[in-house]
Structures are given as structure tokens and as C-alpha cells.
């Protein structure tokens, strides 16, 4: 698709970002920002809460959509994303354990531990896939969901014993209402990782065509898979640590983009990134508006919108996906 369309999409994202900046609990209008009395107060809100929140939305949406795409390339299955592969549950378990044993650890350390767990969990998932003989399209996510269920149950049990259920819930349900300056910056790491993925777009696309195909073209398949896994694990861990999991995003966005423009990641990744950011922004705006002045957590909205879109995809795209 031509650059013109990409530009149009970027403008749409910008408009959504502006809307996202201007709505919310405390009063913040352009007029307030410009008036001498309230100006300073409004600017404070903007800097401490609104801008961080909007940035966090964009960064997390982008990274999650890209992570989903990478998972789908690595497993060659369109129904896989961090929340259907045990990745999210593993990251939460890791975070839980580090919270228990080293509550004082810095957020970076916590994130790295969570990423380590996410990596191990996802690698285990790939391992199981290799052992499961008949891989129909749907067994793959089923295996992932079951694995996630087991890991999640362990995490739940531990959290219950140590009275951390609330934290666990926060990690697994995306919520941006608590985002403030100083609490979201980790997401820039996730964003940097998606840029890294873009640099490796050709290798990831090739890996998506299968081991034999990639090897024939001289690709070191295993190292590309490892690279992809590390990115997915780190992105998931950062998102779990900062804002909580955004379900379905990594499933819906890559599938829609794939239908529209194919799987050559050098071409599709910018679109996946933008659609991811756009969808999160829209869901967040909806969550803040429908029940004003209260907020519905974005995880809930995404769950509804995402599962509806996903069902639609399942029904519409079945002949292609099967």
C-alpha cells in the first residue's frame, strides 16, 4: 500500500491521541490550558498524567500487536499470541515470585525476571508443540491455553496463599488509569524491541515460511526463533509489569492486516504497529466515555471488542485459515 495511506493512518492515530489527551476525570480543555489562572494546573495534569497515559497506550498497543505477529510467524499458526501460549501467565508467575522473594527489587529487575519466566514458558510451549503429533490449526492455541491455564493456576494458588491476588489481577487485566509519569517509561523498552523486530522483518517473514524453507535460503532458523522469542517475552513482561495484559490485541490486529495486505513483514509491520496503537486508543477512549465519570478498564473493553472481532475472523476467514 502506498505511502499516502500510511500517512493517513498516522494522522488518524494523531487525532485519536489528541482526543485521548483531552478526555478524562479532571477538567482539561484547550481553553483551560490557555487561561492564565488554570493554565498551570492544567499543564500539570497534562504532563504528569495525560501525556504519560496516551504514550503508554500507543507504546503498549504497538508492542503487543507486533509481539502477536511474531508469535504467529514462529508457530505458523494464526491463533497464537502471548495470551494463548502461556507467555502472559508465565510472566505473571515470574513477577509474583520476584515480588515475594525480593519485594524491594527495582522495576527493571522485576521485569527481567518476568521476561525470563515468559521466555521459559513460551519455549516450553514450542517444545510441546513439537511433540504433539497431529497439529490441526486449532490444537496449537488449545495447547497454549491449557499450558497457560496450568501456569496460571499455580500463580493463583501462590497469590492466594500470600494475599497477592489483587496484584496478580492487575497484571493480567490491562488498565491505564494508574499510569503516571515515572510509572510507564519501561514501555519504551517494548517499543525499542518492536523497532528491532522491524529491522529483522525479512528474517522473521522467512522463519514464518517454515524451517525447511528458511534453511534452504541460508537462514539460521534456530537463532531467528530464539531472537523472536526473546522479543515476545520481553515485550510481554514489560506490558504485564507496567499496565497489565491487553488480551486479543496480538491476535486480532495481525490477522486483519494479514488479510488486507499479506504477511511480508517488511511491508505489514508498520500497519500492524499503527492498527495496534489505534485500537488501544479507541478502546481506552470508549472505556473512559461510556460510563463517565467512571472508567471501565481497557482490558474489559478489549476483551469484548477483541473476542467479537476474533469470532468474526474465525467465521469469515475459516476457509483460508484451515
Amino acid at each position: 500500500m502506498p505511502v499516502k495511506h500510511l500517512l493517513l493512518a498516522a494522522i488518524t492515530i494523531t487525532v485519536l491521541a489528541l482526543i485521548s489527551l483531552l478526555i478524562g476525570g479532571g477538567d482539561l480543555s484547550l481553553a483551560a490550558l490557555l487561561s492564565p489562572q488554570e493554565g498551570q494546573y492544567a499543564a500539570q495534569i497534562l504532563l504528569i498524567s495525560r501525556i504519560p497515559r496516551t504514550l503508554a497506550l500507543i507504546l503498549a498497543g504497538t508492542a503487543m500487536a507486533v509481539a502477536g505477529t511474531i508469535m504467529q510467524m514462529l508457530t505458523r499458526n494464526r491463533f497464537v499470541e502471548p495470551s494463548t501460549a502461556g507467555t502472559v501467565e508465565s510472566a505473571s508467575l515470574g513477577l509474583l515470585i520476584v515480588t515475594l522473594f525480593a519485594p524491594e527489587a527495582s522495576v527493571i529487575v522485576k521485569m527481567l525476571v518476568a521476561a525470563g519466566f515468559a521466555l521459559a514458558g513460551t519455549a516450553l510451549f514450542l517444545r510441546i508443540l513439537r511433540l504433539v503429533p497431529l497439529r490441526s490449526v486449532l490444537t496449537v492455541p488449545l495447547v497454549g491455553i491449557m499450558l497457560g491455564g496450568i501456569i496460571g493456576a499455580v500463580a493463583n494458588f501462590i497469590a492466594y496463599r500470600f494475599d497477592l491476588l489483587q496484584s496478580l489481577n492487575a497484571w493480567t487485566t490491562g488498565d491505564f488509569s494508574g499510569v503516571l509519569r515515572g510509572r510507564y517509561e519501561l514501555l519504551w523498552i517494548a517499543f525499542a524491541l518492536t523497532l528491532l523486530a522491524y529491522l529483522a522483518a525479512d528474517r522473521l517473514t522467512l522463519a514464518g515460511m517454515g524451517r525447511d524453507f528458511a534453511t534452504n535460503l541460508g537462514l539460521r532458523y534456530r537463532s531467528v526463533v530464539s531472537f523472536g522469542l526473546v522479543i515476545v517475552a520481553m515485550v510481554t513482561a514489560t506490558i504485564v509489569v507496567t499496565v497489565g495484559m491487553l488480551p486479543f490485541l496480538g491476535l486480532v490486529v495481525p490477522n486483519v492486516v494479514s488479510l488486507l495486505m499479506g504477511d511480508n513483514m517488511r511491508r505489514s509491520l508498520p500497519w500492524i504497529a499503527m492498527l495496534g496503537a489505534g485500537l488501544v486508543l479507541v478502546c481506552d477512549i470508549v472505556g473512559r466515555v461510556v460510563y463517565y465519570p467512571y472508567e471501565i478498564p481497557i482490558g474489559t473493553i478489549m476483551g469484548i471488542v477483541g473476542s467479537a472481532l476474533f469470532l468474526l475472523l474465525l467465521l469469515k476467514g475459516r476457509e483460508r485459515l484451515a
Binding site: R76, G208, M209, L219, D263
Partner: protein, 252 residues
């Protein structure tokens, strides 16, 4: 030259390729024939390092395929497998251009693009170049894969059943194209073929396998005999000389 010495492949206790040794000379077409399950595909994927071998070695121009870095080998030898199932939605042009990956690593030069255009032209895919692979017919897709492998432009090219899904006209076109590549571009081509008459008419050597064992190899004239074919397929066929070619009449 491809030098295969004593290679073996075993899955658990079953040996599917049993101590095969063979030298495939440079330039020309070598066809491998044999019944289903004889081990032809396994042999080809071991030669091309896609399947690890249980024992033995394969060298290509002196390079051991299991030890040579994959990206070095990718510029010398390419393979088209029998049953690629690419789930990705790529256009024909994308796919063919990926054939240049060993050279370009994703940064296509003008030279790479013109190679891709040439390959697309050779296979008559111009009109389909911007279509997605999953929206093509089986034979069109097969031609796109062949175009990709040709675009890889290696001295050694292995094709596992390249005539899969092709109609009569395209099958003959494909064999002529491969013959040209061998004669004019000095390629070394190894094919797995089920239609022994194509093997007879277009190859320089024929290799016959049965139950994992290489049982015969020689010129088409040597293999296209009643006894040899009976030994390979357990089937009595009439071999006739038609216009100086040996043709098996096996339809009835």
C-alpha cells in the same frame, strides 16, 4: 560434484535410506525414480541438509553439507521440497524475490529484482506476479516455487517432484526449461520423478531406489529396460523405442 558416501537414515528402528553412495557429476540432469516410500525425498533432504543423516557424509564441491554454514551453502545448492505448505500470505513476486535472500539478505539490488523478473518470466507467471500464493491453483503455486528456486540461482538445484500438479503442457514446459538450465547455464539438476518417460527423455542419468537402497543407476538407455523397471517397481511394462527414445507403456 555431489558426493554421497554411505548415507543412512533411520527413524527409531526403521531404516528408510540404507547406506547409499553415489556421485552426481557436474552439469546435466539426474533423475531419481522409485516407488512411494522408497526413500527418494529423504535422500534429497539429507543432501540438502534439511534432514540430519544417521550416518555418512555428503559433500557439494568438496563442502560437507552438515558442516558448511547454511548461508554459504544456500548460494551453491537449493532445493524444492515435495510438500511445501507455506501458510504465509505472500505474493508471487515476494516469494520469488526471497530467492535472492542468500545474496541480498533482504536488501534487494536492481540486479536482484531483474533476476526475479526473469524467473517470473521463465515460468510464465507475469500475470500472477501480484497475486497471493493462497489464491492460486496448485499448479500455479508449484510454478511460483520453481521460479523462486531458479531465482536463487545456485549451481546445484534439487527438485522433489517438480511436475506435481502441472498439466501436460506445463509439465513439458518445465522439463524443457530444466534441460535448458542444464545445457546453457551449466546447472546440475537432480529431480525426483514419477513419470519414468519424462526421466527417460530428459535426463542424463537415472538413479533407481527401492526400500531405501539404491539399486541401479545409469543412462536412460540402461535403466529403461523391462528387467530394470520390473526390479524397481515390481511391474511388467512394455518398453518401446519411439523416435529414438525409450518409452514405457504402462497405462494398461
Amino acid at each position: 560434484m555431489i558426493e554421497i558416501s554411505n548415507i543412512r537414515k533411520a527413524y527409531a528402528d526403521t531404516i528408510v535410506v540404507r547406506d547409499v553412495s553415489l556421485q552426481i557429476p557436474r552439469r546435466g540432469i539426474t533423475s531419481i525414480i522409485g516407488s512411494n516410500g522408497a526413500g527418494k525425498s529423504t535422500l534429497l533432504s539429507m543432501i540438502s541438509r534439511l534432514t540430519p543423516m544417521t550416518a555418512g557424509t555428503v559433500t557439494v564441491d568438496g563442502l560437507d553439507v552438515t558442516k558448511t554454514p547454511s548461508d554459504v551453502l544456500a548460494k551453491r545448492l537449493s532445493i524444492l521440497r515435495q510438500d511445501y505448505r507455506i501458510g504465509s500470505r505472500l505474493t508471487v513476486r515476494d516469494l520469488v524475490e526471497f530467492g535472492r535472500y542468500p545474496y541480498s539478505k533482504g536488501r534487494l539490488t536492481a540486479e536482484d529484482r531483474s533476476q526475479a523478473d526473469k524467473a517470473i518470466g521463465f515460468l510464465g507467471l507475469e500475470a500472477l506476479a501480484d497475486r497471493f500464493l493462497d489464491e492460486l491453483s496448485g499448479g500455479q503455486r508449484q510454478r511460483a516455487y520453481v521460479a523462486m528456486v531458479l531465482c536463487q540461482d545456485t549451481d546445484y538445484v534439487l527438485f522433489d517432484e517438480p511436475l506435481n500438479n502441472l498439466d501436460m503442457r506445463h509439465a513439458v514446459g518445465m522439463m524443457k526449461l530444466l534441460r535448458q538450465a542444464a545445457d546453457n547455464l551449466e546447472k546440475t539438476i537432480v529431480l525426483v520423478l514419477h513419470d519414468i518417460n519424462f526421466a527417460s527423455c530428459y535426463s542424463d542419468y537415472i538413479v533407481a531406489m527401492r526400500d531405501g537402497v539404491l539399486i541401479r543407476h545409469g543412462s536412460p538407455d540402461e535403466i529403461m529396460t523391462r528387467e530394470a523397471i520390473r526390479e524397481v517397481y515390481d511391474m511388467d511394462v512394455d518398453i518401446r523405442d519411439i523416435d529414438g527414445r525409450r518409452i514405457a507403456v504402462y497405462y494398461t
